[in-house]
Symmetry: C2
Subunit: 394 residues, 2 copies
C-alpha cells in the first residue's frame, strides 16, 4: 500500500438556495474585492450571475466581472484576468460555472501572485508558493475542480493543453445547488458523468490491490453514478439524482478515491491531445479513448478488470475465464457510453476518420517528442500511445 | 434530501514513518511553542513520545509535555492544561494518542482562548469563536476525533459526560501510521471498530432514504471494516488491514457519511450515561446498547433495517418477511459483536445485572430530568430511554 496525503479543505455548502450564502462565505474567507469569473450565456440567462452580484453588492463587497471562459479554457483570457486583478486590487476570485471557469480562476489566482509568466507553472518551470483564494458557485458537475488541486489550461499558441496541480488552489468554498444543473443539456450531462467516473477509474485501475477501502468506496461511487445518470437523462429536474451526480463529481476527484494507490491518468493525457486538436468535449474524448486503453493494458492487472466488470458493471463472473469476464466489463462500459450518448471511439467523437498524420501529431505532443511517458498501470511510451490512438480510430 | 455542509480540512499524512514529518507540519500550521499532550505509558513505552519530542527539539520548536489523559477524559486535566498553556505561552496543541487525548486537547485549546470556564461550551452556554490550533499523531483508531469537530469530556464533579462540536476544532493535521496500532490489545481494537462503525450507523439509520450516494458509501465502509477487524484480531501486525481500520475510523466520522441525511446519536447518548456511571470502554458500551435500541426503533424505518441486514450483514433477503429479515440483521450484528469480543447487553458489559435504581439514574441524566430527548429516527423521551436500558439489561 502506498503512503498517502489526503487534503480536501474546501467547505462544501450543498442544497437548494445554497447560493444565498455566497457573500457571507466570501467575507469568511477574507474576500473584500472579488473577480466574478464566468463563462457565457447560461450563467446570465439563468439569473445566477445577477443573483450572485446582487448579494455581493448588498453585503458591500466590491467586484469586477469577467466572462467569456470557454470549454478547454484559454490562457489568453486568464492572462487578461491577471491584468484586471492587478489593476483593480482584487483579493478573491469567485468562479461561477463549471470546471473550465474554476480552472481559469485558479490560473488567474496563480498569476496575480507571481512575477513571471503564469504558463511557467503549467510547463513545470515553477511551483506556486502563494496565490489568491479561489472559491466557486458550481453549475456543471464534471471536472471536480471545485474540491481538487488541479487546473487544466489550453495555450492557443501551439494548441497545448497542460495541467498544473497545487494544494493551495483547492477552493475555499464550493456552493452546490443541484437545481442549477436542471438545465444542463443531455450531452453535457453525460460528458460530465463520463469525466467524473474517469477521475475515479484513473485511480481504480492500478497495481495496488491492497487498499481495499479505497477500492470499495470507488466501486460504490461508480455504481451510484451509473444509476443516477439514467434518472436525470429521463427527467432533467430530478433533484435526488442531480444531487448524487453533483456530490459524486466532487468526491470522485477530491483525492478520496486515490488514497493508498498509484494513479494512472493515461486516458486523461491521451485525451488532452484529442481535445487540444479538435476542441471536443473533454468527457466525450475520454469515452472515445478509454475502451481502447483498457484493452491495451488489460493484462497488467487482469483481476482488477474482472473486479470492475463484476462489481461495477454487473457482469456475471465466469470464474473459468477471467479474460472473458474482464472483456465483457469493457464491452458493458461501451454499451453504457452509447446508452448515455457518448462515443466509444474517435470516429464517433469527431464524425470522421482520424488521419495517420493526426495520430502522429497527437503522439508527438503527448510524448513530448518521444521524451515523455504517460500512465502508471502500464507506462506508455510513444509507440504505445500511437497504438492506442490507432485502436481507438473506430 | 437534507441540505448539508461538508467541511473536513484536516491534512492527513498516512503511512509508515509518517511521524517523521511532525515538526515540518507543526511549523506549517504556525506552531512555535507546543503542548505535547498524551495519555499514559503506551506512548512512552513505544518510543513515539520521545521521537516526537526529539523531532520538535531538532527543529527548534519549544514544547511542554502533559500526560495523564485517561479514557473518558477528565475536565480537571484539561483545566490543568489550560493553565499550563497560558503560563507557558503555548500556541499549538499536539495530541499524541487516541480520541481521548485529542478530545482533551480540543478542550484545552478552547479554554486557552476563552475568559470564562471552558465547561460553558459543553453545557451549551457559550460558543467558541477562537481556539488554539490542534493537531495529532494518532495511535488508536476509534473516535474519529482526528478529523471531526467533536470532543467529549467528563466532568468528575457529578460524573457528567458531555460533547461539544465546533468546526474550528477540526485538527490541522493528523499523522497516521498503521504500524503504531500493531500493539493495540484485541479488546481495544474491537471496541475501536465498534465505535467507528457506530459513527456511521448513527447516520445510516435515518428516515432520509433519498441520499443514495451517502448510503452506498456508508455500506461500503461498514462492510470493509467488518472484514478488516477479523484480519487484525488474527494477526495484530497485519499492516494492510490495520490501515483499512485506521483510515476507516477517520472517514466514518469526518462528516462524509452524514451528507444529506439527518443523524441520530441516540445510541451514543444512551451510552454516555453508561460510561459516565461505570467508566467502561465507550465502544463496548455502544455494543451493549445498540441491539436493544435497534429493536426498539425498528419500525420507524423498517426498509432501512432490511437494507442493513442484506447489504451490510450478508443476511439473505426474505422478501416475504421484511421484519424477519431486519431482525436477522440485528442478530447478525450481535454475533459479530460476540465474535470480536464485545458485549451485546449491559450484563455482559459490567459483569453483573444493572439495578433498577441505576437505570432510573441513567435515564434521569440522559433526559436531563425529563427535559431533554435524544435521537432522531425515533425521538426518545425519558420513558423510551428507560425502556431501552431495561431491554438492554441482559
Amino acid at each position: 500500500m502506498k503512503d498517502f496525503n489526503y487534503y480536501a479543505p474546501t467547505e462544501v455548502v450543498f442544497g437548494r438556495q445554497s447560493e444565498e450564502q455566497v457573500a457571507r462565505l466570501v467575507r469568511k474567507y477574507g474576500g473584500t474585492k472579488v473577480l466574478v469569473h464566468y463563462g457565457g450565456k447560461s450563467a446570465e440567462r439563468s439569473g445566477l450571475l445577477d443573483k450572485v452580484c446582487r448579494l455581493l453588492t448588498e453585503s458591500g463587497i466590491g467586484f469586477v466581472k469577467l466572462g467569456g471562459v470557454v470549454p478547454n479554457p484559454r490562457l489568453s483570457l486568464a492572462r487578461k484576468g491577471i491584468g484586471i486583478c492587478k489593476e483593480e486590487g482584487i483579493d478573491f476570485i469567485l468562479a461561477v460555472g463549471g470546471g473550465s471557469v474554476i480552472d481559469s480562476s485558479k490560473c488567474i489566482a496563480y498569476g496575480v501572485c507571481y512575477d513571471g509568466d503564469v504558463w511557467d507553472f503549467y510547463l513545470g518551470k515553477a511551483k506556486a508558493t502563494a496565490m489568491l483564494p479561489v472559491a466557486c458557485v458550481l453549475t456543471i458537475p464534471a471536472a471536480g475542480s471545485e474540491m481538487s488541486e488541479a487546473s487544466v489550461i489550453t495555450n492557443e499558441d501551439g494548441d497545448v493543453k497542460l495541467g498544473y496541480g497545487n494544494n493551495l488552489s483547492r477552493p475555499k468554498f464550493a456552493i452546490m445547488n443541484p437545481e442549477r444543473t436542471f438545465t444542463l443539456p443531455p450531452y453535457q450531462t453525460a460528458a460530465g458523468v463520463t469525466d467524473m467516473m474517469m477521475h475515479t477509474m484513473e485511480r481504480y485501475f492500478t497495481k495496488d490491490d491492497d487498499m481495499d477501502l479505497t477500492t470499495d468506496l470507488a466501486e460504490a461511487m461508480l455504481r451510484n453514478i451509473r444509476t443516477a445518470v439514467f434518472a436525470v437523462l429521463k427527467n432533467p429536474e430530478d433533484y435526488r439524482y442531480r444531487a448524487q451526480i453533483m456530490w459524486g463529481g466532487s468526491l470522485m476527484h477530491n483525492g478520496l478515491t486515490g488514497c493508498g494507490v498509484a494513479d494512472d491518468w493515461a486516458t486523461h493525457q491521451l485525451e488532452h491531445e484529442l481535445s487540444g486538436m479538435f476542441d471536443v468535449t473533454h468527457g466525450a474524448g475520454l469515452a472515445a479513448i478509454w475502451p481502447s486503453w483498457a484493452r491495451y493494458v488489460l493484462h497488467e492487472n487482469l483481476s482488477r478488470f474482472v473486479r470492475f466488470a463484476v462489481n461495477v458493471m454487473d457482469v456475471p463472473n465466469d470464474f473459468t475465464d477471467p479474460e472473458g469476464t474482464a472483456l465483457k466489463g469493457i464491452e458493458a462500459m461501451e454499451r453504457f457510453y452509447h446508452a448515455i450518448g457518448m462515443p466509444v471511439n474517435i470516429r464517433e467523437l469527431i464524425g470522421r476518420e482520424i488521419t495517420d498524420e493526426e495520430i502522429r501529431e497527437m503522439t508527438r505532443k503527448c510524448s513530448r517528442n518521444g521524451a515523455a511517458t504517460c500512465g502508471c498501470l502500464k507506462v506508455l511510451k510513444a509507440e504505445d500511445m500511437k497504438a492506442i490512438y490507432t485502436m481507438a480510430k473506430g
